[in-house]
């Protein structure tokens, strides 16, 4: 299985993602933002970081970079595109998933482990996972998910919420919401469920000695789903 991680100026989780993808069996290729063509891939990942210094709005400049037209075409033709953290911000700015990510409600950069609940497994990312609550890491200043009421209705009607912030038992209450996100939303799919944007970093949870293995479960399952 082939994957591609796009490196934008200011990306800083691209190598972590490269290591994670290779560890679980992907043959990953790094792609520079200024390239025009994507290499042949089964999965394209927009990594975390601070592309273009978060100028204007997080992800706004990166969403207009040269490679993005190719990523958008790949997504529109059904290809799997996953955006993590700043990658999620790039996805919303490019219109591949609905909504926006605002500044965290309490104006603080949040860097900690959180629990997230997978709501819907009827998609290539979470299909066949045998648990619902995962511990992932978040590190962001703009992760406060927001969309219009009309968009929210459409998102909920189409089961497009990928993951919710919750506690270790999977309770999705406001007090387990780290950043003020609407309805505790931590990740969103596009309508077709081939594009996933999420704030948490599964690639930071692939080794017990680092912080945990829930990311390992996610990546192992993902590659099996794609095979």
């Amino acid at each position: 299985m082939k994957s591609a991680v796009i490196t934008f100026p200011g990306s800083n989780c691209d190598r972590d993602m490269h290591v994670a993808l290779n560890k679980f069996g992907f043959k990953n290729q790094m792609v520079w933002h200024n390239d025009i063509e994507l290499p042949k891939s089964d999965l394209v990942v927009l990594p975390g970081g601070f592309s273009y210094g978060d100028y204007l709005r997080c992800g706004s400049m990166a969403s207009k970079s040269k490679i993005m037209q190719s990523v958008i075409n790949f997504a529109k033709s059904g290809g799997l595109v996953m955006g993590i953290c700043n990658g999620f911000q790039i996805l919303v700015e490019s219109g591949l998933v609905p909504g926006v990510l605002l500044r965290n409600k309490y104006l603080e950069f949040i860097c900690k482990n959180v629990f997230v609940k997978i709501d819907n497994k009827n998609n290539p990312y979470f299909k066949n996972l045998d648990k619902e609550v995962f511990e992932f890491h978040i590190a962001h200043n703009e992760g406060n998910y927001f969309c219009t009421n009309d968009q929210l209705k459409e998102i909920e009607d189409n089961n497009q919420v990928a993951i919710y912030y919750c506690n270790d038992n999977g309770k999705t209450e406001e007090k387990f919401n780290p950043n003020g996100s609407l309805k505790n939303i931590a990740g969103i799919f596009n309508k077709e469920k081939n594009v996933l944007g999420m704030m948490p970093h599964p690639e930071r949870m692939i080794d017990q000695s680092l912080s945990g293995e829930d990311g390992s479960l996610f990546f192992k399952n993902l590659i099996n789903n794609i095979k």
Partner: protein
């Protein structure tokens, strides 16, 4: 022509920075404030001498990059 545009958050979008500025102003003794909303201001010098055309160009920029219309509105405030 120099075109000036402001970008503001839509009414129902939370503006935590504006809120903190409001609280700070309050602490400084400015007690007559109802609300503070923070926005962005752009001055764009475009290679176009026709004011209407210049406005169109900057509006296009606002629609495509400078503003995110899910949460923001823009307004051209000056063309000179």
């Amino acid at each position: 022509m120099k075109v000036s545009a402001i970008i503001t958050l839509k009414k129902d979008v939370l503006d935590p920075q504006g809120k903190v500025i409001h609280q700070t102003l309050d602490g400084m003794g400015f007690k007559d404030v109802n609300e503070v909303r923070q926005g962005k201001y752009f001055e764009i010098d475009v290679k176009e001498n026709d004011p209407q055309k210049a406005q169109k160009i900057v509006e296009d920029m606002c629609n495509k990059l400078l503003a995110n219309l899910v949460i923001e509105n823009y307004k051209i405030i000056e063309i000179q």
